[in-house]
């Protein structure tokens, strides 16, 4: 089966609502059978679903998921918001800026954008509404802030990228730190832009005395300590990313216990959710790995490469085209499927053009972040909807424009200044 047919079949199944993992396995199987025959195709199935899963490095997935889910359970998000508020509430749009900062802080101990959005929405939306912020600004700042979850380490998406491309997950995490901070600053600028564009007049709160501001930080010290412990451990080479994940999960257990939230019922539910998400993600990975065999046999990558050569376009034109591909796909697919489908195909091309593999990981994540907040299926916007069903989708999407603009600027910065991502991992 030639690859254009295989790709068309895969997209048809995916849009017909077949679970991504099984669509990839099924089409991969048909494709591999058509090229090498039944027997090897079937025995590869057993190998992919058993041998590639029984991998020490892959244990980062459940462990970082567990860490993030425990941090949600620990209720530290409320303290994070209170702390950010104490420092920002006297500024114009302070509550929205505090939302962004708190999202950034939460992302530093949680690797999922959806969890970050859902958690912060429950806390900061009522606060912003109370002080007369428009739903447009409040909801869009939460949805945008939530995207930081997958960039500021730990990050589930970076883990998946690292596994698919066999890159060092620790280095990927470190590379995400600076662009994540740039993201926080960019979104704070977007809040101010939004106030100007929509002529929103907001009352500011009186400034808190310095003592009280520092007191507000007490509730977040341990969460920040957990971040420093995990990332610092990776940076100093004290532990590998896999070990950092285990230590992070252990630390998150401790954090939840210290906050009195480690109850049996809630913890069992957190553990079960983590296991289910792990199973879902592993079957997508298995499907992607199996499908990758078909991609390799079918010569898709070399065809793409010879097209690029024939067109005679430079490396930056290729990167620009990839940005466009992600913008379009981001409107159609959900993040993990988008990454597992595109990265194995694009990675050899991009690195072949001389781009850094770690840099490309950050590039892919920022492009994915964009897809979380752009219509028609911005996942974070939908999560906002489940928390606040009374806000119409159009209002959130209307408010999101300045945030999307800042994302585009950040992507441009990353392309112009690769050091933004590579400075920290290269200093290891």
């Amino acid at each position: 089966m030639a690859w254009p047919i295989g790709m068309a079949l895969l997209l048809t199944l995916i849009f017909a609502g077949v679970p991504i993992a099984f669509a990839m396995t099924a089409v991969g199987l048909i494709g591999v059978v058509s090229i090498v025959g039944w027997h090897p195709a079937l025995s590869m199935l057993g190998q992919v679903f058993f041998d590639s899963g029984r991998s020490y490095t892959l244990s980062v997935v459940p462990l970082f998921l567990l860490m993030g889910n425990l941090v949600v359970q620990s209720g530290v998000a409320g303290d994070l918001y209170a702390a950010a508020n104490a420092w920002l509430r006297h500024r114009k749009g302070g509550l929205a800026m505090a939302t962004i900062v708190a999202c950034g802080g939460f992302s530093s101990v949680c690797g999922s954008s959806l969890a970050t959005t859902a958690t912060m929405a429950r806390i900061s939306l009522p606060a912003m509404r109370k002080y007369g912020y428009s739903d447009r600004l409040a909801a869009s700042s939460i949805a945008a802030g939530g995207t930081l979850g997958i960039l500021i380490p730990p990050s589930v998406i970076l883990v998946i990228y690292g596994i698919l491309t066999q890159q060092n997950i620790g280095k990927l995490f470190l590379a995400g730190v600076l662009p994540g901070l740039v993201g926080v600053v960019g979104y704070m600028i977007a809040v101010r832009l939004s106030l100007v564009v929509h002529r929103e007049e907001l009352e500011t709160q009186p400034k808190l005395p310095l003592v009280e501001r520092f007191q507000a930080l007490r509730g977040v010290v341990w969460a920040l300590a957990l971040f420093v412990f995990v990332l610092g451990g990776i940076y100093l080479g004290v532990f590998t990313a896999t070990e950092a994940a285990g230590m992070g999960a252990g630390g998150a257990f401790l954090l939840t216990f210290m906050r009195g939230r480690l109850t049996l019922r809630a913890t069992l539910s957190t553990l079960f959710d983590t296991a289910k998400t792990t199973a879902v993600m592993f079957f997508i990975l298995f499907g992607a790995l199996y499908f990758l065999n078909y991609v390799n046999f079918s010569g898709l990558t070399s065809d793409l490469r010879s097209w690029i050569n024939a067109l005679g376009v430079g490396p930056y034109s290729v990167i620009f085209m990839i940005v466009l591909i992600y913008l379009v796909l981001g409107c159609l697919l959900e993040s993990i499927s988008m990454i597992t489908l595109t990265v194995p195909i694009l990675f050899p091309i991009v690195t072949g053009l001389g781009f850094d593999p770690i840099w490309f990981g950050i590039f892919v994540v920022i492009a994915t972040e964009l897809s979380f907040i752009t219509p028609p299926i911005g996942m974070n916007v939908f999560v906002m909807r489940t928390v606040a069903p009374d806000i119409p989708l159009e209002r959130i999407f209307a408010g999101i424009v300045p945030f999307v603009a800042m994302d585009v600027v950040r992507l441009g910065l990353l392309i112009a200044l690769p050091a933004m991502a590579l400075l920290i991992p290269n200093s290891m």
């Binding site: 199944l13 995916i14 849009f15 017909a16 609502g17 077949v18 679970p19 991504i20 993992a21 099984f22 669509a23 396995t25 099924a26 199987l29 079937l42 025995s43 199935l45 057993g46 190998q47 679903f49 058993f50 899963g53 029984r54 991998s55 020490y56 892959l58 244990s59 459940p62 462990l63 004290v238 532990f239 896999t242 070990e243 285990g246 230590m247 999960a249 252990g250 257990f253 019922r265 913890t267 069992l268 539910s269 553990l271 079960f272 983590t274 296991a275 289910k276 998400t277 792990t278 199973a279 879902v280 592993f282 079957f283 997508i284 159609l332 959900e334 993990i336 499927s337 028609p376 299926i377």
Partner: protein, 169 residues
């Protein structure tokens, strides 16, 4: 489906969920402990946990496959509903259950091949390097769970069960 068999199905589903939840939870806690004990042992007591990497690998697969039945019961696999979300009535039913049938078929194939893979590993007497844990029976266990999931998904399609909302532990 009669009311009685419906009751039994619901009760079976609840027990299956609770049992897998407890097992998954225990495996995840164990997975965390293996790393913590290994790292702390290495740095503070200069004696890492022997075979830590192998415990990790086995626990990981155990979590993935123990989590799978609940995912199948919940229709919890990630799918794109951009097109299908607008389907109603018969079309929506048809879409959901055809998708389930395809999932069941793929899971059935995976189960069959995992079993064959396990038998092969057994015939080589394949064991892990440090712990000497036999891999064949372990692969066969994953095959059984995958097969069970194929059967669950198949019956959910045939009985045209409505989409579950997940519903906690």
């Amino acid at each position: 489906m009669t009311a009685r068999s419906g009751q039994i199905a619901i009760r079976a589903r609840r027990w299956l969920r609770l049992a897998t939840a407890v097992l998954c939870g225990a495996f995840l806690v164990a997975l965390t402990l293996v790393t913590v004990v290994d790292v702390i042992g290495r740095y503070l007591l200069s004696s890492p946990l022997p075979g830590a990497a192998e415990y990790t690998e086995i626990l990981l697969m155990a979590i993935v496959f123990m989590g799978l039945p609940a995912v199948c019961l919940d229709d919890g696999h990630i799918s794109v509903d951009l097109v299908t979300a607008n389907l109603k009535g018969v079309a929506a039913h048809l879409q959901l259950n055809l998708a389930r049938l395809l999932v069941a078929m793929v899971l059935g194939l995976v189960s069959w091949q995992l079993w064959k893979h396990g038998a092969q590993l057994e015939s080589y007497n394949e064991v892990t390097v440090y712990l000497r844990a036999p891999l064949g029976p372990f692969a066969k266990a994953t095959a059984i769970i995958a097969g069970l999931c194929a059967v669950i998904t198949f019956f959910m399609a045939v009985l045209r069960l409505p989409k579950s909302d997940g519903g906690g532990v």
